[in-house]
């Protein structure tokens, strides 16, 4: 008989259904067997392991739809094992990995490798994107049909934009045949190339080449036309400007099949955080100004921005301790995704359920993943967390092999206490 675990005395939160109620949840083996306010009101029967949550929140485990793993190719920065541990510690039960590895994941064997390693590590659920173009070279579309059969959840060139309008058209059109999503890094490369941070006063002051906001806006506007032309489905990763949000808002109102996400750093930071050339604040697309930051928050609040993804990009010291222009872009984010998302709740921009939806059921729905919901019969992928507990971000405690976080020493609130995948605790806070 499979293991049964009763989580009692919980605040049940299911953003997909709007459930927010005191109650209990029962897992049986790998599945959620039952849950609700009345469950175990008369006590838990014999033979069921009891976990008394003492009133803490019990929600679906987080779904992070944008994670970079450096394996294969750069295992010194992050492996499938280390990224899985980081996810578990951050309350993330499903990660979706970008294809930007070495070699690029653009064929079936690359997907099989990742799936096999994830099975060996056996911590969180590891889903995979496959490249939209061979080698992410932006020229020839990949075998999207065979890759879909092998488990690719969507297609993207990851950190690279699909630059050619012709190739984007074909990718959208071809993927449509398999009802698959294309994900774009919306940045017009010819405008952004050589750029290091947001174009503006600070870039000018620091003497750094700027990336104009228009690089993002132009790409989004172009791609929306191509969605209209092809009838394909498109998702924009990490939108950062007010105009981007406004354009997507209008496109959605017109009924286009388009979604988007943003990352916590675009909500929590601005270009001023680059300060004196802090390379940990170098990200792609770059941190924008305060007006854009507010517009992004507004986009999350009204649902124009569907999801929050950590955009976890591990980079070791060698890639970051360099002059700003030579340093790599990217920050690690799996272990700060939950508290930074909760910041929006504490600042009263989003309700708790709204905020959780952005990191659970909404990204899962975009990618059609069997995750992100409390439902009877669904996988028991759960997060127990305290939304209030204050702590200070300490990168040395990160499970991720890379420590490139711009949030070091930031006081935050809210933390994962226990992470459960397929009914099995994969992480538990000390004490």
């Amino acid at each position: 008989m499979s293991t049964r675990v009763a989580y009692t005395n919980a605040r049940l939160l299911d953003p997909a259904t709007g459930l927010d109620v005191k109650g209990a949840l029962l897992t049986e083996g790998t599945k959620i067997a039952d849950f609700g306010p009345a469950l175990f009101n008369d006590g838990v029967p014999e033979g069921i392991e009891v976990v008394d949550l003492g009133g803490q929140c019990l929600a679906p485990g987080l779904v992070d739809m944008r994670v970079m793993v450096a394996e294969p190719g750069n295992e010194q920065m992050e492996t499938i094992k280390s990224v899985s541990r980081a996810a578990a510690a951050g309350g993330v039960t499903s990660i979706v990995c970008l294809p930007n590895t070495t070699p690029v994941r653009d064929d079936v064997s690359g997907l099989e490798f990742l799936a096999r390693r994830a099975r060996e590590v056996r911590l969180v659920k590891v889903f995979a994107y496959a490249a939209a173009t061979r080698g992410t070279n932006g020229e020839e579309i990949t075998e999207m049909g065979l890759l879909s059969r092998a488990g690719a959840v969507a297609f993207t060139d990851g950190t690279k934009a699909i630059e050619s309008a012709k190739v984007m058209r074909r990718a959208l059109s071809y993927a449509k045949g398999f009802d698959k999503l294309i994900i774009q890094h919306p940045e017009e490369p010819s405008l952004a190339s050589g750029g290091m941070m947001n174009a503006g006063e600070i870039a000018t002051r620091l003497g750094l080449t700027g990336i104009p906001r228009e690089a993002e806006i132009i790409m989004i506007e172009r791609d929306l036309r191509l969605v209209e032309l092809t009838g394909g489905r498109l998702h924009f990763a990490h939108v950062t400007t007010g105009e981007s949000v406004e354009i997507i808002r209008r496109a959605k109102a017109r009924g286009l099949k388009v979604t988007c996400d943003t990352a916590p750093h675009y909500v929590a930071l601005t270009e001023t955080d680059v300060g004196e050339y802090r390379t940990f604040a170098k990200v792609s697309p770059p941190l924008r100004d305060e007006m854009d930051r507010r517009a992004v928050v507004e986009g999350l609040a009204d649902g124009t921005i569907d999801a929050i993804a950590s955009d976890h990009t591990p980079r070791d010291q060698d890639r970051k301790r360099l002059p700003f222009s030579q340093a790599d872009s990217g920050v690690v984010g799996l272990e700060t995704l939950l508290p930074l998302t909760l910041e929006l709740v504490h600042k009263r921009k989003l309700t708790l359920l709204q905020a959780l939806a952005c990191v659970t059921c909404k990204p899962a729905a975009i990618l059609d993943l069997p995750a992100g919901r409390l439902a009877t019969g669904a996988a028991a992928d759960l997060l127990v967390f305290d939304p209030e507990v204050p702590w200070t971000v300490d990168v040395d405690a990160f499970k991720s092999k890379s420590k490139n976080s711009p949030f070091e020493d930031r006081p935050v609130q809210g933390r994962a206490l226990r992470t459960v995948v397929d009914g099995r605790a994969v992480w538990q806070a000390e004490g």
Partner: protein
Amino acid sequence: MTAPTAQNFPHRHLLGIEGLTAGEISLVLDLADSYVEQNRQPERKGTILHGRTVMNLFFENSTRTRTSFELAGKRLGADVINMSVDASSVKKGETLIDTAMTLNAMHVDALVVRHSESGAVKLLSDKVNCSVINAGDGHHEHPTQALLDALAIRRRLGRLEGLVVAICGDILHSRVARSNIHLLNAMGARVRVVGPPTLVPSTIERLGAEVHHTMKTGLKDADVVMMLRLQNERMSGQYVPSTREYFYFYGLDYEKLAAAKDDAVIMHPGPMNRGVEIDSEVADDLKRSMILDQVELGVAVRMAVLDLLTRDRREKP
């Protein structure tokens, strides 16, 4: 409106199927039927085009179609001249219209033209006095192929009206598909096109075709499965990521064919890419495959077309 007869066939050229009526199409098919019988006799050679000149003017390589027209002309007693132009005048800089004027001055009776550009045959037909038969122009039309396909279906299944015909593969670049869509619609068949979205033009349904992106739905209960050739240069990530992916999802094998009616027939305009758009086993299935019938009937259809288009000048010299 009176039904057209061989005597009052109202067209001088055959540039496309679009614009032909069901009656006119039936007329060509009926006449072709009689030529099928003639071609099966030991004495096949007729004389109705004795002393007439048919010129095959091919600006694009072709073996099958050119040979088929050559044979058709010769079986009607005509003198047939083959001219492959890609290697000659064009290289010297002669324009299409110059070529047309030159040939016109030679007083040929019928010009059979293939050209890689859509509309080129029409342009040429405006400049000559003889009859022009389009043997394929770009991605536009290939009317004799559609007529021979229709004849093959009619002879095998007894009718065209009401049949479900699935045209599969590279619809975007196919003149055969366009001509067939026009013809089958005119004759009351139900046309489906099946292929990856990159190879199906976005407004094809306005030509009268139902669009499918999977073979399973596209072939469901089909009477006829018409496969199209996928050219190599389309398979390297431009329109289709690879040959193996294309074959896996769109190559016709028995598994995919199972969705069609039990007695559904298979057609292909040739030349086939075995293992790309069609499995060898299926292509060689004598019960299902009409691929060789198509070749045979092609000659008869072209004889019928040459006969019809030259009647006017034969009877009123």
